[in-house]
Symmetry: C2
Subunit: 151 residues, 2 copies
Amino acid sequence: MRVTTRGRYAVMAMFDLAVRRSPEPVPLKQIAEHQGLSERYLEQLMAPLRRAGLVRSVRGAQGGYTLGRLPGAISVGDILRVVEGPISPVACVANPLACARTDGCVTRGIWSRLRDRMVELLDSITLADLCQEAASEPSMVGVDDRAGSLS
Amino acid sequence: MRVTTRGRYAVMAMFDLAVRRSPEPVPLKQIAEHQGLSERYLEQLMAPLRRAGLVRSVRGAQGGYTLGRLPGAISVGDILRVVEGPISPVACVANPLACARTDGCVTRGIWSRLRDRMVELLDSITLADLCQEAASEPSMVGVDDRAGSLS
DNA sequence: TCCAATCCCTACGGGAATGCTAGGGTTTCC
DNA sequence: GGAAACCCTAGCATTCCCGTAGGGATTGGA
């Protein structure tokens, strides 16, 4: 029951882009260094984000990325869906075809409700919200965790 | 962001045990057949459940499993924690040691809030609740999904 | 005009986790 | 004694994760 590094790194990169408020495109190298991530790996996450319109890219020297929409119009859920696929604790909730006995399943109801809760929260948090949080905690802009997961 | 088959199968098995309300121990073979699961695989999930006291086992012929507590005192969260470990979308939320910069991390707050929501819901659903749901939908007792995940 | 910075695309590969299967115990009732 | 059950440990095929690598295309500036 874990968010992979794809999702976490993508959120970190998008957040980094949001706090800068730069009208000029920001090169990926800066974002990667600032957040302590592999530039090459991050590059792969930007491709789907660009295709989804969450970021805009400018090629060539002095190029880089800018947010595709206002920070208030980009939610964590948006980002996760792009780089990790549908937000769902089990397959059958997202795709009924994946389930043999899609009706008449009690446990299905659990995962469905869990999914709803997760989606509700993740779609309610925008990059603007994160920027506001960061503003009240100045230290919260830089390098982040990159470790595994326990809880 | 998925619950593995360990978690799903364990919940299915525990539910199966709860709806029977049998004072006699139920052999695993029956549960496996009823829920359409591999008996051998399910066997491995019962071991930790037994050690955690969620089920009691009776060895030998006419043996099997019974619930270790009343259905109303066993939550889905209890079961998942036993077979899958701590409920958490990322490691650093469960174990601060797993995170280099545990403070000063905006994204960490996201996963922490997500974890809280998940735990809150999963701990609020008991086997008794599932039995009640099943009672109003008679078809909801048998074979369940075993497929992947999309959403 | 060249060059460096940058984004872009594809492939590959090591390591860990998942989802079982298998073999061989031990206990208990009939 | 034997069958039915639980119990314990290993192993293993597949998949996924988490990057690394190589090369190409585009653009601005010296």
